[in-house]
Symmetry: C2
Subunit: 277 residues, 2 copies
Amino acid sequence: MTARLFEGERTIDTIPVGHRGIAYGDGVFESMRVHDGRVPWWPRHARRLADGAARLHLPLPDHEFLEAQVAAMASGREAGVLKLVLSRGGGARGYAPEPDAVPCWQLSIHPSPQAPATGLQLRWCATRLAIQPLLAGLKHCNRLEQVMAREEWRQPGTLHADADEGLMRDTEGHVVCAVSANLFVLRDGRWSTPRVDRCGVAGVCREWALEALEATQARLTPGDVEVADAVFLCNAVRGILPVARLGARTWDAHRAVADARRRLAAAHPAFPWTARS
Amino acid sequence: MTARLFEGERTIDTIPVGHRGIAYGDGVFESMRVHDGRVPWWPRHARRLADGAARLHLPLPDHEFLEAQVAAMASGREAGVLKLVLSRGGGARGYAPEPDAVPCWQLSIHPSPQAPATGLQLRWCATRLAIQPLLAGLKHCNRLEQVMAREEWRQPGTLHADADEGLMRDTEGHVVCAVSANLFVLRDGRWSTPRVDRCGVAGVCREWALEALEATQARLTPGDVEVADAVFLCNAVRGILPVARLGARTWDAHRAVADARRRLAAAHPAFPWTARS
């Protein structure tokens, strides 16, 4: 992993002790697809980063400096994932944020995930998402729920231990998302995706798909997913991933999913579409 | 701040990039009172640390090594706060925990907080605690709710900007705790404290007070707090803190609170009791 660390607009060599990321998960992050030396969706990521920082009152580094560092990190790389973590920085012990905190942030490059050869196999997670409108939609760094959910099917012998992803419900039973992706379901020719106003992440690919597919945001029950005509997951790193199975329910390839992927390929060069894919 | 960093049973010089604390708040912590070169409540803290690690499937360093490092850090210090943060350590990008992760942990020493000269002034926080039984009771590192709550009254001009602490309710309206302390209320000669089975932290001083005062755990409404005959906050760093005001409601010093403090003084040498205090 290649990584660089910053405090405000200054490169630093080591992560400071007392970092509020470690103490409280006091930050936000972005996982971005690198393609041909660039980050094609950088404007969307930058906007979400700024929105998240504004809602949490996190300080942001200078925008031009940040953008130049992101560009430098992506430059010369054919493909990969660029992760940005923005934290509030150090400070005294205790929850109170320093009013003049200097942001502590890091960029790191990771390998691209393997594109799945077939449709995804999903399972239902037992771990539920708490309802917290103040954090809903944000890609913040309080992610123990996702860590616990993802761990559910790493144990050998677990039901659906070979699953590619898991669907998560909130504590009231509504379907929200997969552990690391958003969910879209097709019914009678119309796409919909769960609202993220009470929990869940407003994903960058979700935002694109909402517009491109004229999808609606809705409260979905597990039953709504199971009766869907087609289902896909999406995120900014992996694009659109067709779903082939959820527990006992299976779906054949659907032309509306292929169509969505073709449009994504036109919008984002890292996700090319072929008739086979 | 004096600090030491460890990976398993090895001292390290710098916090590794890719630290899951920064990425996800994937850890637990303890804030411990140092007195006369020792940590008097170490057995209680060690037990809670082990319980938290077990619930989150976090790896723990060797117990004797950990204990020796805590003792070494406290040794020779008359007073202070010793903070321990235990994180899952590094790993690849993504939520899935490494099954053989080596814990990354840190110890740091901080000044003792000033003991308040008078009873505390409290306010109600607007920030609510999400209901998440899987994390309830744990002193985990997903603390954005507390950061937001504590920030509420740092802005000049805020209502009760001079408050010492804020009381937090869950999203259903039940009273849970203060931002950095547990809450006890007296009614008709009996102490009670909110349950922490749906959110909130099972504090080490709370555990002591539950036993010593034969207190009950209950779901409390804001009205239950306002009609209480006496109220105190407590945590392992500050001991028992009498409450003098909550919004418009005031309380005079109460002999049951003085009695609780006298018993705490007998149990923990860092919290001496005097008739004036």
